[in-house]
Structure formats: C-alpha cells, structure tokens
C-alpha cells in the first residue's frame, strides 16, 4: 500500500517520534509504515486516520 503519512506529518510539523507518541507505538513502527515496509492493521489505520482527522482512504491507497 502507498500512504501519505510523511506529507501529512510535514504539514503539521510533526516528527516520526511525535506521531508515534500520539499513536502509542514505537518510532520504528511509524518509520516502517511510512516507508511502505509494513501495512498497519485496521485498528491502527483507524487510529492514524483519527489523529489526522481524515478518512483512511485519504491516507492509504492501493499500489
């Protein structure tokens, strides 16, 4: 899957650690998701969407 995490973070001036703290996960998790190495579970994807106040499909899309 592709995602817009890096852009969305940059718009808010958040580091990966900032986003990780908000999600309650490790910075490594955010890095892996952002780089497309790891696809998050549905609950985690919903948490990400809630934090950015967007729909999941506005953040994640198929390759």
């Amino acid at each position: 899957m592709k995602n817009r995490l890096k852009v969305l973070r940059a718009e808010r001036d958040w580091s990966q650690a900032d986003l990780a703290d908000r999600l309650g996960v490790s910075r490594q998790s955010v890095n892996a998701i952002e780089k497309g190495r790891y696809d998050p579970s549905l609950p985690l994807a919903f948490s990400i969407a809630e934090i950015f106040e967007l729909a999941i499909e506005q953040i994640f899309s198929r390759d």
């Binding site: 890096k6 580091s15 309650g24 490790s26 490594q28 890095n31 892996a32 190495r37 790891y38």
Partner: protein, 213 residues
C-alpha cells in the same frame, strides 16, 4: 536537521561497539566453542558450560548495545514500552538464576558421588532457568501492544525455531547413521538463542529495524 533521521550524538552501543559487532561476536564465540567441543579439544561438560558464558555475555552485550542506542536516539533498535521493560527484568532474573544454578551444578559435580535426588534437583535447575527464557519471550509477545514490534519478535522466534529444529533434525539423522559424534540436547536451546540473533539481523535487513529481543 531532518526529524526523520535525527541522531543526536554518536555515543551509543556497548563498550563503544554497536549491536552488529556484538551479534557477530555471539556467533563467532558460539562457533568457536562448538568447534572446540566437536574437535575434542575440550573434554568435560563443565569446561564447555563455562566457555558458553562468553557467547552469552556477548548476547547480553548486543542487547545492551541496542538499548543504549535507543536511549541515545542513534539506532533503530527497540522501543521502551512496558512490555520491553518487563522482559528485561525477567531476563535479568532468569540469567541470575541460570548462573547461580549452573555454579551450584559445577560445584556439586566436583564433590563426587551424591544422592540421586540431589543430583536431579540441582541438575534440573539450569534447564528450568533456560525454559524460563522461552516463557519470557512468550510473555513479551503477549504483552507487547505495538503490533509492528510484536511482529518482529514473532519473526525472530520463527527464524530461531527453524534454525534449531533444522539443526536437530540434520544432526540427529547424521548421529543415527554414526557419521557425527553425539551432542547433548541442550545445545539446541543454545542454537535457538543464536537463531534469535539471526532473526534480528533478518529483521534489520527486511524491515530496517532489529526488533526487541
């Protein structure tokens, strides 16, 4: 500085060395001890047991190195969640139990003839301490709330299990055919722990981070 790659300071690792060095040392020293045992250069279990403290110490150093790198923000190693802290405490207790029970076993072994019940009681303790490590890793997997880190730990245990079971299968068959000397079964647990280190390297290559264990 880019927030994604911020690395404040070079100081990290353990004794000035990173995790890769210590993982390499774990493999190297384990291989050396196994080589010495198989070649017959070491006679007696007590010597082999004692020498295995070296790779165990290297593994502990690798773990410390990963933790220190994380503390310093210079690595992609581990997270500091409650599950991880619990795991470290459990491993510290179990390592102490293992060393103490092993020391007792070695000491009693030198005393000579002892009642069966005493030998059984003392002999089973180091094995139970090692079994405790498997329990600790199981608890880590259950308690970890970070799904990505949990996946990395599970991948490590799969690599470790594949390595240990493959070694047991191949060596067992060769032993049955009288092609190789007999080795005691506890070596497969040691191979399993080496497999955890190998799994950590696999995680680093495929996911860019070492994982927990």
């Amino acid at each position: 500085m880019n927030a994604d790659t911020a690395k404040p300071g070079k100081a990290a690792g353990f004794l000035g060395r990173g995790p890769l060095f210590w993982i390499g040392m774990t493999f190297g020293t384990s291989g050396a001890v196994v080589g010495l045992v198989l070649s017959g250069a070491i006679e007696g279990k007590a010597t082999a047991f004692t020498l295995m403290i070296v790779p165990l110490a290297c593994m502990a150093a690798a773990f410390m190195s990963m933790l220190n790198k994380n503390e310093a923000g210079t690595g992609d190693c581990v997270t500091k969640g409650q599950a991880q802290r619990n795991y470290i405490k459990r491993v510290a207790v179990l390592t102490s139990l293992y060393l103490a029970s092993f020391a007792a076993l070695t000491f009693l072994d030198r005393l000579g003839d002892l009642p069966y019940a005493v030998r059984l009681g003392v002999g089973v303790l180091p094995g139970l301490a090692v079994a405790g490590f498997f329990w600790a890793i199981g608890r880590l997997i259950l308690e970890e709330t970070d799904e990505f880190m949990r996946m990395l730990t599970i991948r490590q245990t799969l690599v470790a299990s594949a390595l240990a079971m493959s070694a047991a299968s191949v060596w067992g068959m060769l032993e049955s055919a009288d092609l190789v000397p007999h080795i005691d079964a506890y070596w497969y647990a040691i191979i399993w722990f080496a497999g955890l280190a190998l799994g950590s390297v696999v995680n680093r290559i495929t996911y860019g981070t070492w994982g927990h264990v």
